[in-house]
C-alpha cells in the first residue's frame, strides 16, 4: 500500500469526484443547480483531461458540455484560463471554436484549473473523419473552411493575445532554426538527411515577414471536429503562440496529417487552391515560397519530434510501444523532406 493520496484512484472514484466537482462549480460560477451525468472521457492524456457530460437542471432540461481540466496544479503549457480567453477571442473573430461558459483556476473543484465549453457534435478520430468526409463529399468545403478559419484567426491583432502566449524571441524563422539545430545535435545518431534539411532551411530562410499573428500551431485532422456541414470546431489550442501566419497554413498541409489521402494537400481533405482562395478572400496574404519553406520546416520538425519520442522511450522518460514505433517512422519524414527538397 502506498501512502494516503498516492494509491491510484479507480475509474469509478474519479468519475464520482469529477461529477461532484462539476455540480459544485456550476453552482459557484453560474448559480445553477444541476445534476451531472453521462460522463465520457474523450482524451485520456496523462496531463490533461477532456470529459463530455450532461448537466440537467431541476426542471429536467439537460445539455451536453465539455470540461477541459488539469487533474493537478502541475505546470501548464498555456494556463487554462488564458486558453479559455483565446477561445473567446477566436470565437469573436468568427473562428469555429466551442463556446466557453466559464474558466477557473481554483483547484478545489477537480484538483486543478478547468474550463467548461459547449460540447460540439461531430467526429474527431482521423481515419473515421476521413471516411465520413468521403461519404458526405465535404472535403473541398473543409479545405475552404480551414482557409477561412485561418484568415479569421490571423486577422486578430496579436497584441491582444493572452499574456502567457509565447512570443518570438527573434523572428519566428530564426527561433525555429535555433530550435531545430538544437534538436539535430541531440539526435541519437547523426542524420545526413536532417543535416541537409537544416542547412537548406538556413540558406533559404525567408526575409522577416509582413507581420506577426496569433497562430494555433497544430491545426490538423485529429484536432478538429467534423460534422455533416464540414468544419464544426478547431480544438487543442495548447501550443498557440504569436508567430508567422504561414507557419500555421503549412503545418496543416504536411503529408503526415493526410492519413493516406496524399493527393489532398490540405489535411487529406482537399486541394490547396480552395484553401488559399478562402484564406485570401478572408483577408489573409499567401506567399508560395514562404509557405514551402514552412512546410519543409514542419516536416523536418515532426521528424525530429518522432526521433525525440524514440529517445524518450529508450532512456525511460516515457517508455511505451507507440513511442518505440515513432523512432521507426522517422524514415517517412526523411523521404518526404527529400521529395520537397529535390534539386
Amino acid at each position: 500500500m502506498s501512502g494516503p493520496g498516492k494509491a491510484p484512484e479507480s475509474a469509478q472514484a474519479r468519475e464520482a469526484r469529477l461529477k461532484a466537482g462539476l455540480e459544485a462549480v456550476f453552482r459557484a460560477e453560474l448559480s445553477r443547480t444541476v445534476t451531472v451525468s453521462d460522463l465520457v472521457v474523450t482524451s485520456a492524456g496523462a496531463r490533461r483531461g477532456n470529459v463530455l457530460f450532461t448537466a440537467t437542471d431541476s426542471g429536467g432540461k439537460g445539455q451536453r458540455y465539455c470540461v477541459t481540466y488539469l487533474p493537478t496544479l502541475d505546470i501548464e503549457l498555456l494556463p487554462i484560463p488564458q486558453e479559455a480567453a483565446l477561445f473567446r477571442l477566436a470565437e469573436a473573430q468568427g473562428v469555429p471554436v466551442p463556446h466557453v461558459h466559464f474558466a477557473t483556476e481554483d483547484p478545489q473543484w477537480v484538483g486543478g484549473p478547468l474550463f467548461v465549453s459547449d460540447c460540439v457534435a461531430g467526429e474527431t478520430v482521423p481515419r473515421r473523419v476521413l471516411r465520413k468526409v468521403a461519404a458526405e463529399g465535404t472535403g473541398e468545403t473543409i479545405a475552404a473552411q480551414l482557409g477561412s478559419a485561418f484568415a479569421a484567426l490571423h486577422s486578430i491583432d496579436p497584441t491582444l493575445a493572452p499574456p502567457a502566449l509565447a512570443r518570438p524571441e527573434r523572428t519566428p524563422v530564426e527561433d525555429a532554426l535555433a530550435r531545430t539545430d538544437q534538436q539535430l545535435r541531440e539526435l541519437l545518431q547523426p542524420s545526413p538527411i536532417f543535416s541537409y534539411a537544416q542547412r537548406w532551411l538556413e540558406t533559404h530562410a525567408p526575409p522577416a515577414g509582413e507581420g506577426l499573428a496569433i497562430v494555433h500551431g497544430d491545426v490538423r485532422n485529429g484536432n478538429v471536429i467534423i460534422d455533416e456541414q464540414g468544419l464544426a470546431a478547431v480544438l487543442d489550442w495548447e501550443v498557440a503562440k504569436v508567430g508567422d501566419p504561414l507557419e500555421d497554413l503549412a503545418w496543416t498541409c504536411l503529408r503526415c496529417w493526410r492519413f493516406g489521402e496524399d493527393d489532398k494537400e490540405v489535411g487529406g481533405f482537399g486541394p490547396r487552391a480552395r484553401f488559399v482562395a478562402a484564406y485570401e478572400a478572408g483577408g489573409g496574404s499567401f506567399d508560395p515560397e514562404r509557405f514551402h519553406w514552412w512546410k519543409v520546416l514542419g516536416t523536418y520538425r515532426w521528424g525530429l519530434g518522432l526521433a525525440g519520442q524514440a529517445a524518450a522511450h529508450l532512456d525511460g522518460r516515457f517508455s511505451n510501444i507507440v513511442m518505440a514505433m515513432s523512432g521507426r517512422r522517422v524514415g517517412e519524414l526523411e523521404y518526404d523532406l527529400l521529395s520537397l527538397l529535390k534539386p
Binding site: 542524420s191 545526413p192 541537409y196 508560395p288 521507426r328 527529400l338
Partner: protein
C-alpha cells in the same frame, strides 16, 4: 548456428500468436497497441531479411565521400560514414557536393522505407513545391 525456427520464423510465430490468439481477446487501447506491436514485428522481419543492406549503404556513402569503406563490421563502418556525411552536409557551402548527395540520400531513404513502410514512396511531394511538377 542456431536451430530452427530461425529468427525470421520466430517473428512469424509471434505475429500469428498476437493476431490469432491474443487479438480477439482484446478491447480498448490494447487493440491499437497490439496493432502497433504487429507492425513492429513486420518491420524487424523485413530488416532481418535483407542482410546486405548495411554493406550496400556503406558502399554508396563511401563512393559519395570518395573514401574507402572503414574497417570493421558493416554497422560500425556505416556509423562512421554517416557521421562524416552528416557533418559535411551540415557545414554546406559546396553546391556540387549537395547535388551529388541528393540521389544517394534518396536511395538510402527508399531502402529504409522498404523495411519501414513499403509503398510509402509511391507518392512524391516534389509536385507541391513552388513552380510545381517533379
Amino acid at each position: 548456428m542456431q536451430d530452427r525456427p530461425t529468427a525470421v520464423e520466430l517473428l512469424d510465430t509471434l505475429a500469428t500468436y498476437l493476431e490469432e490468439e491474443v487479438g480477439p481477446e482484446l478491447e480498448g487501447p490494447l487493440v491499437y497497441r497490439t496493432r502497433v506491436a504487429l507492425n513492429l514485428l513486420s518491420v524487424v522481419r523485413r530488416e532481418l531479411s535483407d542482410e546486405e543492406a548495411l554493406a550496400r549503404e556503406a558502399a554508396r556513402l563511401a563512393a559519395l565521400l570518395d573514401t574507402a569503406v572503414p574497417e570493421g563490421s558493416p554497422r560500425l563502418a556505416l556509423e562512421a560514414l554517416n557521421a562524416q556525411l552528416a557533418a559535411r552536409l551540415r557545414r554546406g557551402g559546396d553546391a556540387a557536393f549537395d547535388e551529388a548527395a541528393w540521389p544517394v540520400l534518396m536511395t538510402g531513404a527508399r531502402e529504409k522505407l522498404a523495411v519501414l513502410r513499403p509503398g510509402y514512396d509511391g507518392y512524391d511531394s516534389a509536385g507541391e513545391r513552388p513552380g510545381g511538377a517533379s
